[in-house]
Structures are given as C-alpha cells and as structure tokens.
C-alpha cells in the first residue's frame, strides 16, 4: 500500500488537536498577563 507520509509523521499529525489546545491556552495566559499589568498600572495612577 502506498503511504504518502511516514507512520511517525501521521502519528504526529494526530496530536495536532493537543498542540492546538496548548497554543490557545498559552495565548490566553499571555493576554491575561498583559491585562494584569494594565490593571495594576491603573491602580498606581
């Protein structure tokens, strides 16, 4: 049977949902940190 991709690559591709969840979370946390700085600065003013 012809396989366009190696088994390893196909396996890694099936982990894409996991990677997507993680990227989304890291982005959310980064936005959170930015918001935190703004909120704390707001208090200092």
């Amino acid at each position: 049977m012809y396989k366009p991709f190696s088994d390893m690559l196909a396996s890694m591709h099936s982990l894409s949902l996991t990677i997507y969840w993680c990227i989304l979370t890291v982005l959310s946390i980064a936005i959170g940190f930015k918001a935190l700085e703004e909120m704390l600065k707001g208090g200092e003013k």
Binding site: L17, T18, T25, I29, I31, G32, F33
Partner: protein, 473 residues
C-alpha cells in the same frame, strides 16, 4: 508495599504537622489573621496555596481517568478552566484584591454581602457554600479512601486519616497553617506527578514494547482518543461551571484577598499559571499513557465502568517506594483542597451567623466557632464519603453547578452593574431552582452533561435563570 506506603505517609504527615505548628509563629491576633493571614501573604506562598487548593485529587485520579476513557477532549476541558482562571485573576481578581483591603473583607461571603449591602444575602450564600461544598470535600476524602483501599489498608482507614489530617492542619493556625502546608503539599503534588510521568514514559511503556508509533496506534484504534470525542453538551456542561470557578468557589475567592501587595499578587498569578499549565499537561499525558498501557494488555474494558480506578491500578505496578510516594502526593492534593474549603466555609459561617449578628463579637469566639464548623463539616463529608456515592469527577463538578448562580451576581456587582440585594437573592433562588430541578430529573452525577431543554445542558440554563433578575431594570 503497605509498609513503604505507611512509612512515607507518616513522614509526609509529620513534615506537614511540623510546618503547620511552626506557622503559628506567623499568626497574629484576631480573626483577620486567622482567616486571611492579615492580608500579608507573600507571592510564592499565595501562588502555591492557590494551586494546591484549586488542583485536587481529581487531577491525578479523576482527570487521568477521564483522559483514559475519553481522550484529549479532557485536555480542552481542563485548559479552558486554566485559561479562564488566569483571565479572571488578571482582571476581576485585581478588583477583588483591592476592594478586600479597602472594605476589610475576610470571608468570601463578606464580598457579596458588602457589595449588595445585604446581610440576608451573606447568610444565604454561606448556607449555599455549606450545602454545595460538603460533596466536594467528600470527593477529596473519598479519593484518599480509594487509595487506601487499593493498597488493602481499608477505605474507612483512609477516610479517618484524611479527616484527621485536614482538621489538624486547618485549626492549628488557620490560613497560615493551611497556606504553608499547601505549599509543602504542592511540592509533593508536582514531584509525584513528574515522577509518575518519567516512570510511565521512560520505563513502563518502553518495557512493554510501546514506542511512539504504537502509542498513537493504541490511542487511535477503535475510538480515536486524539480527536474530540465529547458531545458538545458534555463539553459545555462540564466546562461552563469551571470557567467561573475562580469567582464562585469560596476557597479560591478567599485567596484573592491574601497577597500582601501588588508584587505579591502579580507573582501569585504568574506562578499559579505556570504550575497549572505544567500540572495539567502531566495529568493528561498520564491518562493517555495509562490508556496505551492498558490497551496493550487488553484491559481497557475492565476499567470502562470504573475509570477512577485506572490511576491507582497502573501506579501500583511501579517500584513500591515510587508507588507509595506517588500515592502520598495524591493524598496531598486532596488534603490541600479540603482544608482550604473547610476554612473558607467555616469563616463564612462564623462571620455571617456570629460576628455580624451580635453587637460586640469576640474575635476569639469567632475563631472557636469556625473551628467547630470545620470539624462538623469534615465529619459530614466523611460520612458521605463512606457511603461511596458517584465518581470523584462528577461530584466535584456538580458542586460547581450549585455555585454557578453566584457568577452573574458577583460579576454584576463588581462591574457596578447591580447592587440591589433583592435582585441578587432572586437570582440565587432561580439558579438554585434550576439546579435542583435538574438534579431531580437526572441525579447529581449527570446534571451537568444532560441537556435540560432545547438540547442545552443544565449549567447554561442555570446561568440564564440566575441572570434574568439582574437584567430587570
């Protein structure tokens, strides 16, 4: 195995007790010191107590079991919780932290009672905490009982040990003993999870001939666990209460009061999010690893009806010392959550039913009442645990559903959109009525995922119902 486990457990208990007793040196006079550490807790300690409080035995047992059974959808569920918590802490959390110092909030109910200027609301919320969080506490004790049972020591012995340790570490120095032992237990939790991960992926799976390709094969044969396997109702139903967890659960609300300054608050958020992200990924990886391992042995079906038993079963295959240490780390996760819950609920009951109702309250008496509530609550939770009702995961999340009506009330008040006490009470009543109706229809274990009407799960209806009174002009 039993000998190693008991030896490590005794070492863990003695270490925690020494820390708890030593923390009395930090404790000043008065109920504010006992319940919120006098608003002078450092950033690292605040972060560790927040992490150890919010992450319970559910992570290593319930979440790993959920991942074993349903795959990476569980990661989306848990990361959604983490992302929303960090966003809430970074925005609303700052507002709560500032107001707590200005208005001298001590218990979680102080916040709502003060924002709405309603004593009745404070009492109603304190009673709700008591009702909703006994099952949550019970789930923690049950988790410890299951570990003892899996080692052949006895479920009941585990419940008694957990109840005693939780009570002791709470009453010794209040928030100070809870926070310092939480930090100690937080180290146990992350170390135990990392040790399990290394053992599972570097030893157990390779020694069973499972390489990366075979690992993926085991996870994708039959039901593909690397895709989104949950129904939308299940995902929304389980996730929604957890999105608001930071605002509605008293044990974490109270932690927003404690950082000593802005620097400490910033550190709390940064350290907690780092801890949470790492711990979540580890627990999910453990669940997937357990699945691959048990699938290779053809044992998946054996655990289909009892997924909470998966983690204890696989961990018991490790070297006895490692297994004993990991079981102890799971016990640490359960106790660190339970003691924070009972302290926050006890402080609410003591503030609302004693301090605010008598003309000249004695702070010493207030602490004594809180300690009595702590012990009574733990006894009730222990009795419930001994009855062995439901899964750890459903019990924990069901408690959040009952607390969910607090989300619109809290947000409306903090964002200055609402301050009428009767509207908040009406909101609470409507939300609880929906939760009670759903419980009567589906039972407590299934109220979250079951669609109540229009194919929409109960938590969404709870939010809708509890928002309606607040929208009335």
């Amino acid at each position: 195995m039993i000998v190693e486990f008991i030896a490590i457990l005794i070492a863990f208990f003695v270490g925690g007790s020494v820390i708890a007793v030593y923390s009395r040196r930090l404790l000043g006079a008065g109920s504010r010191e006992f319940f919120v550490g006098g608003y002078r807790v450092g950033g690292f300690l605040s972060a560790m107590t927040y992490a150890a409080t919010t992450y319970s035995a559910f992570m290593m047992i319930g979440l790993a079991g959920l991942t074993f059974a349903t795959g990476v959808a569980a990661l989306g569920f848990e990361l959604a919780y983490l992302a929303s918590t960090v966003l809430l802490l970074s925005t609303i959390g700052v507002v709560v932290w500032r107001r707590a110092r200005e208005r001298k909030w001590v218990s979680p109910t102080d916040m709502l009672a003060d924002l709405y200027g309603s004593k009745t609301l404070g009492i109603a919320v304190a009673v709700l905490y008591l009702f909703a969080l006994i099952p949550y506490t019970s789930a923690q004790l049950k988790g410890i009982g299951e570990i003892f049972a899996s080692l052949g020591i006895g479920f009941e012995v585990g419940i008694i040990f957990a109840t005693f340790a939780t009570a002791l570490w709470t009453v010794v120095a209040g928030l100070w003993s809870v926070a310092t032992t939480d930090a100690y237990q937080g180290v146990w939790m992350i170390s135990g999870s990392i040790a399990t991960l290394l053992w599972l992926y570097l030893f157990l799976l390779p020694s069973n001939g499972i390489d990366f390709t075979k690992f993926i094969e085991h996870l994708t044969k039959g039901q593909n666990l690397l895709t989104f396997t949950w129904s939308p109702q299940m995902f929304i139903g389980l996730t929604l209460p957890w999105l608001f967890f930071a605002l509605i659960n008293p044990q974490v609300v109270q932690r927003l009061y404690i950082p000593r300054d802005e620097k400490a608050f910033r550190r709390m958020v940064i350290y907690f999010s780092t801890y949470g992200f790492i711990y979540t990924l580890i627990c999910i990886m453990l669940g997937l690893g357990y699945r691959a391992y048990l699938s290779s042995l053809g044992l998946v079906q054996q655990f289909a009806a009892n997924r909470d038993a998966v983690a204890p079963y696989v961990i018991s295959k490790a070297h006895t010392v490692l297994a004993a240490a990991v079981f102890t780390s799971i016990i640490a996760a359960a106790i660190s959550t339970a003691d924070s819950i009972v302290l926050s609920v006890a402080s609410s009951i003591s503030r609302e039913l004693y301090e605010k109702t008598v003309s000249k309250p004695s702070e010493r008496k207030s602490i004594a009442i809180a300690n009595c509530v702590t012990i009574a609550m733990l006894i009730m939770a222990a009795v419930l645990a001994l009855l062995r009702i439901g899964y750890v995961v459903e019990l924990s999340v069901a408690s959040s559903a009952y607390l969910l009506p607090l989300a619109p009330i809290t947000l409306a008040a903090l964002l200055k959109k609402q301050n009428k006490g009767w509207k908040a009470l009406a909101s609470l009543l409507l939300g609880e009525a929906v939760a009670a109706y759903a419980t009567s229809c589906y039972g407590p274990a299934k109220i979250l995922a079951a669609p109540l009407a229009l194919n929409i799960p109960t938590p969404a209806w709870i939010l809708v119902a509890s928002s309606i009174p607040l929208l009335i002009p």
